[in-house]
């Protein structure tokens, strides 16, 4: 597994643990509303698990296993580094916005940035992966 995939998969696993912890707190609060403020984590739970875990894991594994280019290389890694940064900054800001939305309404503007970062992450990964969607080379 290349270094960049290791980084993406490990970061995805960290988000997985965080996302399930948030989800567990939300579900417990739904049944036993001792701390109703924890309900604010619901949106963070969705950002973390859908993008931080699922999308990032898929990108990390795809970078590892997609067919290599003609020269036996994976191609330009810079768009994938950009994708990695955009996903993780986006998810972190999404969590921040969800947690503090009730106390700081102006933070809703962060959602514009989060959306733009998610879009950039998708476009950067597409830029990298598109030429690698091809038949495996003979003998590769």
């Amino acid at each position: 597994m290349p270094r960049l995939s290791q980084l993406m998969v490990r970061t995805a696993l960290v988000w997985l643990a965080i996302g399930y912890t948030f989800g567990g707190l939300v579900l417990s609060t739904k049944g036993v509303p001792l701390l109703p403020g924890l309900w604010a984590l619901r949106s963070a739970h969705i950002h973390v698990l859908l993008v931080g875990w699922t999308v990032q894991l898929a990108c990390g594994v795809a970078f590892w296993i997609l067919p290599r280019l003609a020269q036996g290389e994976r191609g330009d890694e810079r768009p994938v580094w950009g994708c990695y940064a955009a996903i993780n900054i986006g998810v972190s800001l999404g969590v921040l916005q969800s947690v503090f939305a009730a106390t700081a309404g102006w933070l809703r503007w962060l959602l514009l940035l989060v959306g733009a970062l998610y879009l950039a992450a998708a476009a950067l990964f597409l830029r990298h992966a598109w030429p690698r969607i091809r038949p495996f080379a003979v003998g590769a």
Binding site: M1, P2, R3, Q6, V9, R10, L13, V14, L16, A17, Y20, T21, G23, G24, L25, L27, S28, K30, G31, V32, P33, L49, T54, L57
Partner: protein, 147 residues
């Protein structure tokens, strides 16, 4: 494919079918207005699909295909994988039963059942992270030739 991975993947496939049965019921209800209580199944549908199917499939395939832990123990400590399987499914099933029941009859004891459902799923996922973490690594370097 070794037995633990087969358990994860077959169980994930069963959840896929169950999730779409619940999803179809919700859609039929939206079209035909059969019973208003069916709408309370929406969170169960999402979690059968995302936890039971997607997450469990990822667990099974990654435990099967990720680089080996070591030559002697290619899958590391398999007990972590079994704990993940048991806790994740027990937690999800508890949720699938008690979340709609609590929505239909909001009695305190039904609500309290959601706490172990949450705890089991969280512990199951932490256990999966512990199991797979040491297997996220590069190809082992080939041994040096003997001199």
């Amino acid at each position: 494919m070794y037995p633990q991975a087969r358990f994860f993947i077959r169980t994930a496939l069963i959840y896929l079918v169950c999730a779409f049965m619940v999803g179809a019921l919700i859609l039929f209800n939206q079209a035909l207005e059969i019973d208003g209580r069916i709408a309370a199944l929406m969170p169960v549908f999402y979690h059968l699909l995302m936890v039971g199917w997607i997450t469990q499939l990822i667990c099974g395939v990654s435990l099967w295909m990720f680089p080996p832990y070591s030559r002697e123990r290619p899958r590391g400590d398999e007990r972590l994988g079994w704990f993940t399987y048991g806790a994740l499914n027990a937690g999800l099933l508890l949720r699938a039963v008690f979340e709609p029941l609590h929505a239909w009859q909001p009695q305190p004891w039904l609500g309290w059942m959601l706490a172990p459902a949450a705890l089991l799923q969280v512990l199951g996922i932490w256990s999966f992270v512990a199991a797979i973490w040491p297997r996220v690594k590069g190809r082992p370097s080939s041994p040096r030739p003997q001199q």
